[in-house]
Amino acid sequence: MAKERFGLVNGPDWYNTPLDQLHFEWSPEEKLELERYCEKIHKNIAEDEMTPLERYWATINGKEKDRLFIITRALHSYASKTLDSNADAIKPMDIYNHPKLQVKEQLALTARFGFDWVGPYPVSYTEECWGGKATLGEYTHPQMLEGMHPVKTMADLEGIEVPDPKKDGLYPGYLWAYYEMKKILIEYDLYDKIVFYSSVSPDTVSVAWLGLMNMNDFMLATQRDPELAKGCVELADEWFIRFSQALKETGAHGIWCCYGPGIFRLEGNEWMADHYARTCRAVVDTDFPGYFGFGLPADLLWLDLLVEKGVMGPGGYSGWAASAEVDYKKLIDGARKYDLFTATAALPRQVMTGPISEFEEDIKQRCEYAKTHPKAAIGVYSIDFATPQHHVEAAVNACKKYGKY
């Protein structure tokens, strides 16, 4: 029984309740709120020649478009601020525990900043789902309590059950929010206009060292006991495929995964690419594309192998988006070489501190280079908690202005 297996301190009452048994009702006032967010999203869309969804497909397929597609990612620590006038009153913990808040937060965020998509970030990295015990902090995902990772030896892999996102932990609530967002987007005539994106983060290898073993032990295992590391990743693969499939079923227009092969040296760890290929290719197709988001310059060193193994490219993910710290010219040139989707982003620290003119100039340079590749996009992501709202607005507006063809 799931309740005996998993433990989450500070979790919600509905924790471990299967998706088909979760019911949250909207009050008339909340329905009005949702309607108003959707009206504002329509107004934002009307400012451009194309709808975000048209722009997104044009980008994925390398076709002409009015401007660069904008990828955005605001973790719940930032997204929740749109609900409480920046008071730091509503915490990410509240978002994870109350799926209705997640729906409101995401629609409010897109309405406020004119994003090209609605797309929440996962509420967990599976820490509490493999038999360990985790705690939910005010601002954090479930985080494993010290010493509580379930796997230290091969024997520990025996009997570990792969979680079911439709039944276990916080995931049913996360999925409920997706189904609800789709309903709302259809009701207010937005589903075929705004991009509705899902996130399956993190990647399979990361699940292995976040949820099954701790990071230090996993990294050492890749050297000292590769079979143990591989055993963990095999379990994580099953999770990743289940979770991806569950998100696809919600009706999202695509999927993305926060991802980090560049954490590991390529030599000796090539086997990881086989797992990425297996998990990515299991769910995506031409109507449901996917991409990776990564943050380390060393990730670029994995590009050739990932394409060779079919992780990205035909049958696999469409490409990858990098954080601002990654050399955007190398990133875009690499994507061009293999005809992949890609995106670069504004520097989060610069967007946080300003001045606005500095990050506008940086965005301009990135946009100019991105426009040389028809499958490139621009991004405003990893938005820091302390970023003033008018800075986010300015960054998005700069992407729209300099991203125009």
């Binding site: 730091d88 990071m215 050297q223 908690f385």
Partner: protein
């Protein structure tokens, strides 16, 4: 083998992350009469610098730093008793931890590895630590440097709580207080009472070196100007 040959091979062993060979060469170096500090600085630090430089340049990998850090820890278990036995100067101690409410540890592990390679005895008190744990560790280990990792932005102000606790304990003058974390700024550093912040592990090491050499002022001196 000559001293240079042993230290050269130790450097290579660290670079290729050969754990067994690294420890074997540490022991061989001691038997050959090489001092522990030479082993640390000319063998281990040289190797870790190669890994660290590659990571900074985007051609090296994070897990290499973590694994190299583990090798350092294992080597220090062999070297510290020799240092103490020989009556040599005890290594300066750095206490490092992640602030209360935050469980992140990757950056902290990298910084720890780099400071070990600089010849510090690094005491990692772990994640989600209250101010009292930092104070206790500083006192217990007579730390010269205290490093605080604060990745989650909303929790960064706790760095000031830690500073205030160190001040209240009467030991603020005895330590260099460095903070680190994604999007940490100089303004925040001054506000929280830290002496400096590290943009990354290399920057952290450089700033601590400069402060200890008197080439970069501690916070108190900066504010007095």
């Amino acid at each position: 083998m000559t001293k240079e040959a042993i230290l050269g091979k130790l450097k290579e062993a660290i670079v290729i992350l050969d754990e067994k060979e690294s420890i074997r060469l540490v022991r061989e170096g001691l038997e050959a009469g090489i001092t522990p500090m030479e082993i640390i600085s000319d063998g281990m630090n040289s190797g870790l610098s190669v890994i660290g430089d590659a990571f900074q340049a985007g051609t090296g990998f994070m897990s290499d730093l973590v694994i190299a850090g583990q090798i350092m820890n294992d080597a220090m278990e062999v070297l510290i008793p020799e240092i103490e036995k020989g009556g040599g100067q005890a290594l300066d101690t750095m206490v490092i931890g992640t602030i209360q409410g935050d469980q992140h540890n990757i950056g902290k592990r990298i910084v720890s590895a780099m400071f070990i390679a600089q010849g510090y005895n690094v005491i990692d008190i772990g994640e989600n630590q209250p101010a009292s744990a930092f104070v206790e560790a500083i006192k217990k280990y007579k730390a010269k440097v205290v490093g605080v990792s604060a990745i989650l932005s909303p929790l960064k102000p706790y760095c000031k709580v830690i500073n205030d606790a160190i001040v209240d304990a009467g030991i603020r003058e005895d330590v260099i207080y460095i903070i680190g974390g994604w999007t940490m700024t100089q303004e925040a550093t001054d506000e929280f009472g830290a002496d400096c912040f590290g943009e990354d592990a290399i920057d952290a090491i450089n700033k601590i070196k400069l402060i200890r050499a008197g080439e970069l002022p501690k916070l108190k001196e900066r504010l007095a100007k």
